[in-house]
Symmetry: C2
Amino acid sequence: MQIKDLGEFGTIDIINKLISSNRASSGSVSQSARNILVDTGDDTAAWSPYETIELITTDTVVQGIHFTLDTISWHDLGWKSLAANISDIASMGGSPSYAVITLGLPGTTDISDIKELYRGIFAISDQYGVSIIGGDMVKAKEAFITIALTGSIHKTPLMRTTASPGDLIAVSGYIGNSAGGLKLIQESPVVSEEASQYLIKMHQQPIPQVSSGRLILDYGLTTAMDISDGLSDDLSKLCLASGVSATLHLDQIPIHILLKSTFPNEYINLALYGGEDYHILFTGTHDKVAQIITKMPDGAAIIGEITHGVPGQVTLVYQNGDQIVSSRKGWDHFN
Amino acid sequence: MQIKDLGEFGTIDIINKLISSNRASSGSVSQSARNILVDTGDDTAAWSPYETIELITTDTVVQGIHFTLDTISWHDLGWKSLAANISDIASMGGSPSYAVITLGLPGTTDISDIKELYRGIFAISDQYGVSIIGGDMVKAKEAFITIALTGSIHKTPLMRTTASPGDLIAVSGYIGNSAGGLKLIQESPVVSEEASQYLIKMHQQPIPQVSSGRLILDYGLTTAMDISDGLSDDLSKLCLASGVSATLHLDQIPIHILLKSTFPNEYINLALYGGEDYHILFTGTHDKVAQIITKMPDGAAIIGEITHGVPGQVTLVYQNGDQIVSSRKGWDHFN
């Protein structure tokens, strides 16, 4: 059965029923679900905020640009679309709460694919306590998914604008795995089953770092962003926003052993320019950063320092001491 | 200059500067702007809520489906995209506050067109006190604009689910003007300059009914929705959500004199099935509805009654007493 057989309203009806039955079947009811006043299906959704600062972010994926259905299932596309938004909330130190989901789809899309997409969305929304409370569906030649996600936070959010010379730079975990997974999918080299499973899963079902973000905030740091476009570019953006430069020590970037063994000559480039890691990049004083990274179980590490200099400039330091100024190579979909 | 010349980040930079300079130049600073903690440009935007119930809605327009650039300017496309969202907040009785705007655009889009689009967005956001605090930009073959808009409200929102048999049905103003305007654009018949200007403006720059929504809420009514897909279909949806039927008196639908004179044989169909009126459809007791419509200056009228019967069924009553059961003819983009 395809969307055009059921029409817009018939399909929306199925989606709303999926959302209701998922909410009913979720074992524990999240705080956000308990605060819903008007649920999906009305003109606008409503909730009672339970903390004093609210957050909102939005992120879109477009078929042929951000994904192809050859390299990701509908289920994982759902997971990943919401993951990217949760990661943006996590990078502020916040907790995600409510999502509205817009689907742009051709009329020939199978209803079973939409159900699979929502299964993937629910898999991650249930895990992170996110309530889906609305959305929109439109016809489009090329599929796209736009999610707007709110969150809440109990004090001033982590921002990109507050890095200071002398700060240490750290990341919340292993970098480059998602790009490694994508490379495995695209090029199908012969690699170990263990590496293949791990890296491809990191690409298709990335794990937003909500706990890490909250930890950074609770320790009193002020500067963070998530790594979505590649470590090098994202660090450059953070530096530009803060009016500072950075030095990045390539041998300190946490690289998972399976990425290193699978791509022994390319892992640094995958880490620097790959993107979609959804780990948190943060800066702060030596003491605090050194303490925080010991609390993060997934490979968190100090990778460099914030310096005075040209705003946005990132100097890469190789193990042998060579230095180069990085230029942007990450994702700019229009270039 | 086109998007591909500046790239994603260069273009986003221009948009962020447009937003900042518009905010700085707005004469009066809205409540929502005063509450911003993290503005556009970071991973996520943040604000302090100033009322106890928060609302969120989202609405998308796609090129070739909802609009073509032959029939609407970039400026008016911006206006209308945000208007549709504001209308959804208005239909709950709420006040709009924060918007995040996603642009899906081809690389060959002119930067000047994006500026024009934002001028249209600012024209309406300034008027309604909406703060633009973020968004996303992605490459897409067919252009689309997705907006997520939050709002706030001081008591239980107006919903679609609470209409009761015996309620009167009313609308906040003239119906069918937007469809009349579209017909003029598409068919270019010879009509008066006055009619042409008025109807085309109603199509391209519709006016969300925030004050009317608030009035309905303040009078203690509970049931409303906005008219976006056509009066007949939207009334049917409201009835379905409430488990009731409705009787709609065609000669009571408020029709503007310029619509009637321009389309003497078609104005009722334009009103019933045209859509995009963005007036509010609401129900309630005789006394309250009769009082409220006198406070709405733009042609508000009582148009029918809620009845017991098949949920979602709408009976159309002609001036001569003939009755037919309406079937859905409004917008379902997949059929």
